[in-house]
């Protein structure tokens, strides 16, 4: 379809700007002025509405179909949470208001939401306190690892290494490296868990901590977690929990009780913010008592009289990590969601997410290789190796699913599984939807045997068919605004 710039007609307009009612002309220095008018598309209101409506109809989201994108928790997010976040008393607040003298009294509701979110996450994760500042999961990781560095600096520990299993999210080593640590990758054992032998070999006084996804990216819970925590704590290292998979254990176990010292939570995944379009997200980080002093500036505090204040006096803090108070809209949705479901509801989330993943695992295990065929948590990882031997790779199956109205699972991750297809159905899908997915996957497995060539033409139902991803990455053709001048 045409870009909005291609649809531009000189002189056409949707609004008639009124003339400025300021008499004094504003004098700007010549170097601040444009050489030529801004190149903006010129369209009528109807042109604009049709353009964006057409774009929205090509979008695929949880609201349009099944979206089992592993590790992303693409669950249905109740609209009531959006409605709460849109309340004018929240949505129209000026972010500087609480910092003005007496301003906190004018935003008590908003500060109460932030404080409530902190308290609820403490209870869910077993942590002493949370910062709500980080604006995404990876930002939470960086904040958490910075606190790890601050802890060791404060204690005079000269520790330079962070250990990360090879099944971890790519953002883990990236975050640790940005915080100044060297990364050591710990291989997985034959059960898909971090190798205890390799870990024992790697642990020494130089180890600042371990970043572990729990349950891991294969959807497996690590039964050695207590031993791992003890080994790391014995060398005064810290245990970091990547909480991307919190959906699997909500209300059933708590990272703090398992022995973790730091955990980040992806509110947008686990707690009701539609995501996948690039944000906004929120990655609050919780810490145990001995790390509370390092939390970023600022934190919300409740005074004895029940009023709230923002605490900026934090000498040991890692400092400012984000403007203002985090993704307030996402935090508001999360609080609404947690209060709506309550304790029993959140437990049911974990139970049904786990049940649904295991239902798919058992129904498809005869049709696709399953490198780790045992009870999993909220996601299961198949391999398309059997189909790949016939010329149909995981990517081909992903493309074929698009034609059948299903968003592909995560493919080629985790890296420890060849031709990986990582399926996370989430708790919000019905048995009927799961059965449709299962039937479709079985049909595709059969097609891979009878007519593997057919996959080359898929997807056929999308605005563009199979893209040349290699050429696109090697020689990208980036259309810029100047191309449309």
């Amino acid at each position: 379809m045409k870009l909005i710039f291609d649809k531009s007609v000189p002189g056409r307009q949707a609004v008639r700007p009124t003339c400025s009612d300021i008499d004094t002309p504003v004098e700007l220095a010549p170097h601040l002025l444009r050489d030529r008018p801004a190149e903006l598309p010129e369209l009528s209101e109807l042109d604009v509405v049709r353009h964006f409506t057409a774009l929205s109809r090509q979008n695929f989201g949880v609201d349009s179909g099944f979206y089992p994108l592993g590790s992303c928790t693409m669950k249905y997010n109740p609209k009531i949470a959006d409605k709460v976040a849109r309340l004018p008393g929240f949505a129209d607040l000026h972010p500087l208001l609480p910092q003005l003298p007496g301003g906190a009294g004018l935003v008590r509701g908003a500060l109460a939401v932030l404080h409530k979110c902190d308290l609820l996450l403490r209870e869910i994760c077993g942590m002493a306190e949370f910062t709500l500042q980080p604006l995404a999961g990876a930002h939470g990781e960086l904040t958490g690892v910075m606190m790890m560095a601050a802890y060791h600096r404060d204690r005079g520990n000269d520790k330079r290494t962070v250990l990360i299993p090879d099944s971890g999210h790519g953002t883990n080593p990236a975050s640790a490296a940005i915080a100044g640590f060297a990364i050591k990758t710990i291989p997985s054992d034959q059960n898909g868990l971090m190798s205890m032998d390799a870990l024992a070999e790697a642990v020494d006084d130089n180890v600042a901590g371990v970043m572990l996804t729990c349950p891991n990216t294969l959807g497996l819970f690590n039964p050695h977690i207590h031993d791992i925590c003890r080994m790391i704590h014995d060398v005064d290292g810290l245990m970091y929990c990547d909480g991307a998979n919190l959906n699997a254990m909500l209300g059933r176990c708590r990272p703090g009780d398992l022995g973790f010292d730091i955990v980040h939570v992806n509110l947008h995944k686990t707690f009701a913010t539609p995501h996948g379009g690039g944000g906004p997200g929120a990655g609050p980080v919780g810490v145990v008592e001995r790390l509370v002093d390092y939390l970023p500036i600022s934190v919300v505090r409740m005074r004895d009289d029940g009023s709230y204040t923002l605490d900026y006096d934090r000498p040991k803090s890692v400092g400012y990590t984000a403007p203002f108070y985090g993704s307030f809209g996402v935090i508001t949705r999360a609080v609404a969601y947690m209060l709506m479901l309550g304790r029993d509801g959140l437990k049911a989330v974990a139970d049904h997410a786990t049940l649904n993943a295991n239902y798919i695992r058992c129904k498809l295990r005869d049709h696709y290789d399953l490198p780790h065929d045992r009870i999993c948590k909220h996601e299961c990882v198949f391999s398309a190796s059997r189909q790949a031997a016939n010329g149909v790779r995981a990517m081909d199956i992903a493309k074929a699913l698009i034609d059948r109205g299903i968003h592909p699972p995560t493919v080629y991750f985790p890296l420890t599984v060849k031709e990986a297809m990582m399926v996370e159905p989430t708790e919000t899908e019905s048995k009927e939807t799961l059965d449709t997915f299962i039937d479709t996957m079985i049909e595709l497995a059969q097609l891979a045997e009878t007519d593997p060539q057919a996959f080359a033409a898929m997807p056929a139902t999308t605005p563009v068919c199979r893209l040349d991803e290699v050429r696109a990455a090697r020689t990208p053709d980036l259309a810029s605004l100047s191309d449309h001048a």
Binding site: G170, Q190, L415, K418, V470, A473
Partner: protein, 130 residues
């Protein structure tokens, strides 16, 4: 699977050709096939010293990102600049035009830990069975 007899191999699927105190390094046919079409190779600076096991190169394919490690300790004396514009050389000719970097390693400790072609083939067979 192409595994030339005159090279040595690591468990991370690098190949090494050692001659006149210089180790030439690339990734094996198995590695390029499993990794898929390369779209980006981040070459190391010349003269940088690496210890055996250090990450020397970060590379990306359409499927994943991965690292190439130093199979022996040494200093970078040459890199394959052609990979910057044409990373696909690693896919089309991983043992020839797709070589990656050369390390000056006059006395490379750990050379004995590398596998020969037969050893690497047996190692790959073991991986398939896992």
């Amino acid at each position: 699977m192409n595994i030339p007899d005159d090279l040595n191999y690591t468990e991370q699927h690098e190949w090494v050709r050692f001659a006149d105190g210089v180790a030439t390094v690339g990734i094996s046919d198995f590695a390029q096939d499993a990794f898929g079409d390369l779209v980006f190779v981040d070459l190391p600076p010349l003269d940088k010293e690496f210890v055996r096991g250090d990450e020397v190169i970060a590379m990306e394919s359409t499927k994943a990102a991965a690292s190439v490690y130093a199979p022996v300790s040494g200093k970078v004396v040459e890199v394959n600049e052609r990979l910057v514009d044409d990373p696909g050389l690693v896919n089309s000719d991983c043992y020839g035009e797709g070589w990656m970097f050369k390390l000056a390693a006059p006395d490379p400790a750990g050379l004995d830990d590398l596998m020969d072609a037969a050893g690497y083939e047996a190692f790959l067979t073991g991986l398939e069975e896992d």
